[in-house]
Symmetry: C3
Subunit: 355 residues, 3 copies
């Protein structure tokens, strides 16, 4: 049985008229032109469609060979190409790409090398890849794809229409909703980091909660989400997690929050809905982050945030020699502030006497 992990099937083709009919926007150009793929301005050929929003790609726009370009109203007139005019070219482009690149339909079946426990429930419409394993009591939903070498632990439940790539580990008793995408190396439900010092040794605190992942969640490669110590760790619907993110035990990530790569979130922190967290941000434990908060890349968040808005904290880089000179002062800012206060007092004194 082939591993149907991606098609190399002939592409759909669609005319510009059909695109506008389906997704809206205004077509300026030949409705009958056919496109069969999306591409960047730079690499697009005459059967591909591209988009333009970022002004830094102006030169590429002028030189593109794309059959058509999706643009904002303000771009009309800049080039002699067929255009589709809309409010949000990137999202429009995403929809066109999604249409031209549909996820391949799952061909049901169990690879003969997979190890399915006799007490597991694998839906007849699911696909279980080579050398994947499903433990006792686990449930795999309809049209779900379980990639090569992935492991679903005892009593874990995976919903329908999920794509679990090769090499994913889901621990016992965790659950994943519908339409989830889990990338290779993701680990769902390892023990949280709970220890207590008992005399001169660490005592491990049993981690008896689970991880509950909602619907339409994507989890990036090598991202880890720990099971709860007592209550569950919860990833709400529509959350998008990039690669190499660490989410500690008992966190709750609000619906439709997007988190970029290399972010760490310590235990018991609750992140609101529709937040956007930049890459490599580090968020402490037991915090509350409100809805609609945006956190800049490489920012260390050490306290709760109760108001929507953008928060930052990354240090600006400098040439090394400059940095050496400036960084040293950071350790003496308190002294510097004291000297300023002193100067102010002395100067005020002089000014008073002067009058």
């Amino acid at each position: 049985m082939s591993d149907p992990s991606s098609s190399a099937a002939p592409r759909r083709a669609v005319t510009l008229s059909q695109i506008v009919e389906r997704f809206g926007g205004q077509l300026l150009g030949e409705g009958g032109v056919r496109v069969d793929q999306v591409a960047t301005l730079e690499s697009a050929t005459g059967s591909q469609i591209s988009f333009f929003v970022n002004p830094r790609y102006r030169r590429q726009l002028e030189q593109t060979q794309a059959a058509a370009v999706i643009v904002k109203q303000e771009t009309v007139g800049l080039i002699e190409r067929s255009l589709i005019v809309c409010d949000d070219p990137y999202a429009y482009f995403g929809r066109v790409s999604d249409f031209l690149n549909p996820p391949e339909a799952v061909v049901p079946g169990v690879h003969p090398t997979a190890a399915i426990d006799a007490d597991a429930q694998v839906h007849a419409g699911a696909y279980i890849g080579p050398l994947a394993s499903v433990a006792a009591g686990a449930v795999i939903g309809e049209r779900t794809f379980l990639g090569a070498g992935s492991h679903v632990g005892a009593r874990a439940r995976i919903g329908p229409d999920c794509r679990i790539h090769a090499g994913v580990c889901i621990y016992h008793d965790c659950s994943v909703g519908a339409r989830a995408i889990l990338h290779s190396g993701a680990v769902i439900g390892a023990d949280g980091f709970g220890v207590a010092m008992l005399g001169e040794r660490w005592l491990k605190i049993p981690q008896i909660g689970r991880v509950i992942v909602g619907d339409d969640v994507e989890v990036g490669a090598n991202t880890t989400i720990d099971r709860g110590a007592l209550d569950d760790t919860v990833i709400e619907d529509g959350v998008k997690l990039d690669n190499q993110i660490q989410i500690g035990h008992n966190c709750r990530i609000g619906a439709h929050t997007a988190i970029a790569g290399c972010v760490g979130i310590a235990g018991s922190t609750r992140i609101g809905r529709y937040c956007r967290i930049g890459g490599a941000a580090m968020i402490g434990g037991h915090l509350e982050i409100a809805d609609n908060v945006e956190i800049g890349a490489a920012t260390a968040v050490g306290k709760s945030i109760s108001r929507p808005g953008t928060y930052s904290g990354a240090l600006p880089m400098s040439p090394h020699a400059e940095w050496l000179k400036n960084a040293a002062h950071i350790r003496h800012l308190d002294r510097m502030a004291h000297r300023i206060r002193e100067l102010e007092a002395r100067l005020a004194d002089l000014e008073r006497k002067r009058r």
Copy 2:
């Protein structure tokens, strides 16, 4: 053969009197009340026991439905519940949880889909999960659990009573002591990062050391510990490592040190005993960190620390607009310091003339 990766067995139950008998402390309340699980104050039911130490959960304490709460002396009188009074409620709670949630006994056996080399030595009391592999010369100890899809390389030695979860890779010639817990995606013994520029190309330096992991060590999900370049990388007894930690070649981590998630430790650094390293701290190479050092989250450690104590260095986050204004000055602190010195000199001059 079922994957016995966790029990769903009926719980033990125990009376409050039995708890106090076993673990000490003072019982205030009905000794005959039975509990069968631990829980948070908020979610505990009448057959569960909870604990209280953090004052921010005061409201949850007042509203808890727990059968009993483990508290400090100072909490007595605050609520009308059965209490167990002790000095360290969190550690006490941990012991109760450990008692109520014993690790499941390992059922010996080798899953028929596992690939055990003819020259490997797997103890008859060990369990080897589905699709796990054990290479030639490797040794697996008594009552050790090797999870689905895990790999033990040639001549590696795993002690007794270890729990190696699904998807762990242990490279050739490494060793792991007794009672270790290794979580999914952990990689023990990959090559350290050793290259030398030879003309215009990097030459790879063979990494001929090993990783030696002591007894009672826990290694989190997707944590990586590199083998030594020449001598070994050593993780001493009782070390607790959270997820996504990177430990470079030739490091030595002292006994009973605990390291939170996302920490990176560059090569040849030696960390003392009983250290506590906060999440996302980054520790440079060839450093020596003394015993009993605590390092704050997101701190960059660029030099050795010879005295016990707490060290920090994370930047405080701000609202973005504020940050933009303040961060710019960091790159001009040296100039700022210079201006202060100048002001001081000029003012002193004026003051002198004034006299």
Copy 3:
């Protein structure tokens, strides 16, 4: 079939004369002395050869039992040992180590538990380990070693002489050149993080590019390299990547660049050739980094770098109490700068009146 993942074969032995003949340098001492392994100054025995460059190991140099030490001219006379004198002892040592520790020859064969798709092309001179899987259309080159449990996706191409350790995942359509080394947990070709907000939900943008890895590349344990959104992500020849690095979609890493552990590089960034990036540095998206740039550990790079040189940005650590005092001021630097300007103006005013 044994897993030949490392030899425990008897070592080669070589005389000092033969070393100098092969690698150059000047021998001071007995040419007939045989060595069979490299070692640190501290642990070397009388049949091993060591090297000395870092002055902090002076004491170890004086006490070493090594048969010979590779040193710079300036070290001659410090000890009574056989010496090999050369310009770059570390690189010289690397070449000797490489000679004494050759990678084990790959014994061709396919482990009976491996799952090779009928439409895959595995070279007869390749080795496929236990429980590894190769999907339809994939190509595995001559003398390439595919470790236990690794997965090569549909239509992926792996060149000759690669060593892919256990537990690596390579997604469909990606390619890896000759002589690559990929460590456990590396994930090549997972989807980039591409989403667009559509109403109140994230739309996933299909990631239709690939990852193209050049020749002589090493990829560390649990490092992730995302496939391109439209065009490919490219890792050029000779790039060396340590563990737990994240490389976003559409990045291009220039030839012979070396990147230390825990680095994150956001999407569409282009890094030049011969760059050196320190551990835990975080590099933003859509940037251009010139050739020969060195970036310090834990530095956040938020803008492009057009000139070679060294750039830094890590905060210096302090004892916690000091840090508390100083860090607070960082959030008020703008106010501090304002007060200094005010002081300067007032003082100038006083000085003017004084005249």
